[in-house]
Symmetry: C2
Subunit: 305 residues, 2 copies
């Protein structure tokens, strides 16, 4: 099953050097989650041939314009594309009012239902859960209410080891094996131990989005050992004081968070518009945490099984 993150934009504050505001499309199995939605996100979705109508959940971290100003246009475009499915929008207090006010004055009747889910930025809550996936919020420390998002695959079933499987095994017993149970005869005596006929489950993968935030080690328990962390690095290391003042992070700080949390891979982004060349971002962060990549618009970061 796919577990891949498409970067639709990773610039902060103002678009610059062809780099756009924050937006990411996370595909896990059949789910297509949109994380943040800066101005023009609908156009990037089109450019990268994303299946816009397959997005059923949108997560907006906070109400600074560079993280949500594309949402209203996307809502209208989904309407024009004749969307029918319900759309779930997770955002801070105020997002619903902002959207509803605009719908009111446009006198638009949207042909699908929008469900607004108000985040509580103070705590980690479960936002979504199904058979394969759990999504939780992460409290972040920014100038205004801001939440990160953690996407975790649930523990997967053991895999049937076809090479070892007896030819005459019943479907019922295969289901027992998948549920981790041993195979017994009618009298309850052991015939096969589960482990004899199965392989261990595939890894449960995980991704966390942490932007915008100042350096805050209190998020580490939420992101401990995850496969992929997106952590903002708005500034280079020499701007640490300014980063603290504006509740943003530097390259070094993002690297320290990734290192302490022992994540598999770190992707950094939310670059300040003051920087044209991004290579110092990578160099500085890799000095702290080797397995770092730059979030680059249009690129996809896959998390392997």
């Amino acid at each position: 099953l796919p577990f891949s993150l498409k970067i639709l934009g990773a610039n902060s504050a103002t678009p610059a050097y062809g780099r756009h505001h924050t937006a990411q499309l996370l595909n896990i199995g059949n789910h297509h989650f949109l994380i943040d939605c800066g101005e023009g996100t609908q156009e990037r979705l089109k450019t990268y041939k994303a299946k816009t109508l397959k997005i059923n959940q949108i997560f907006i971290s906070h109400l600074h314009g560079d993280h949500y100003l594309g949402l209203m246009g996307l809502i209208y475009t989904m309407h024009l594309l004749k969307r029918k499915d319900d759309l779930h929008i997770f955002g801070q207090r105020g997002l619903k009012e902002i959207i509803i006010t605009q719908l009111k004055y446009s006198e638009s009747r949207i042909h699908y239902r929008i469900h607004f889910h108000e985040l509580n930025p103070e705590i980690s809550e479960t936002l979504f859960e199904d058979e394969i996936l759990l999504i939780k919020s992460i409290p972040l420390t920014h100038r205004i209410a801001c939440s990160g998002f953690l996407f975790q695959e649930k523990e997967k079933p053991v895999r049937i080891n076809k090479a070892k499987l007896p030819q005459d095994i019943s479907l019922q017993n295969i289901i027992r094996l998948k549920n981790g149970l041993d195979i017994l005869d009618d009298d309850g005596n052991l015939i096969y131990k589960n482990t004899e006929l199965t392989l261990p489950p595939r890894r449960s993968r995980s991704y966390a989005f942490c932007s915008d935030t100042k350096y805050d080690a209190s998020i580490i328990p939420y992101i401990k050992n995850i496969d992929l962390l997106y952590h903002e690095a708005t500034f280079l290391a020499d701007k640490e004081e300014w980063a603290n003042l504006t509740f943003h992070s530097t390259t070094t700080q993002a690297g320290l968070i990734a290192k302490s949390a022992e994540v598999g891979k770190l992707a950094i982004g939310h670059y300040s518009a003051r920087y044209k060349d991004l290579s110092p971002f990578l160099n500085e962060t890799q000095q702290i945490f080797k397995n770092t990549v730059l979030a680059i618009e249009g690129e996809t970061i896959d998390v392997e099984d």
Copy 2:
């Protein structure tokens, strides 16, 4: 003095084929007026190297998303560019609430003052006036409250005919000439008639923006004999019924308005996203009104003296 219209976007409803939502930059003398502000307008301003901070007046025709969703981002970007001058925004009832609500939740303190001017879509009002220019609204007929905008240079002073000017003429008498007065001696006797020493004034130029609107001949008195008319033509002529239903116009209808109003030039735009090739728009409209051009993103339409 310049009188030129830069097209920043001329597509309707949804961006398509690299064409963006409505936005125009009108430069008259030292004035830089922004007319409508679809999503991503700030980026087009940058692409076409417009002097964003010189825009002091923004005119928003109506509250459909394709005409204003770039405004909030532009307001933030003007702040980041350290704008100090007051900004005047003309729009329908609701625009102020939409902007103020978003500023409130972003907890942003914008470093310049915004003045909101609420349009009355039922009548033609004077929106702005200075020594050289008059701007009025035009009531349009659309699904929701919508105004067009008429930009008219005032009558210009006569021009001094330097070839005829006596060498000993006083500064005071030059001012008299510019004001259209004759030159008299101390006793009030005529020395020179004004027309002996002057040339007629340069033409007063005019532009009207009429979008979105269904075909409505009642706008003709407002735009009679103007130099340049932008009139929407969302659909080709065969979609007239659909145009009427959606309160839009066809190519033919735009041409008829231009012809009846005897304008100098017609620019059409607000193309539906269903059309890739725009040449039929030009052909159809020119069959009714010869001096028609397509509004094409990035192109400039100059109005000559």
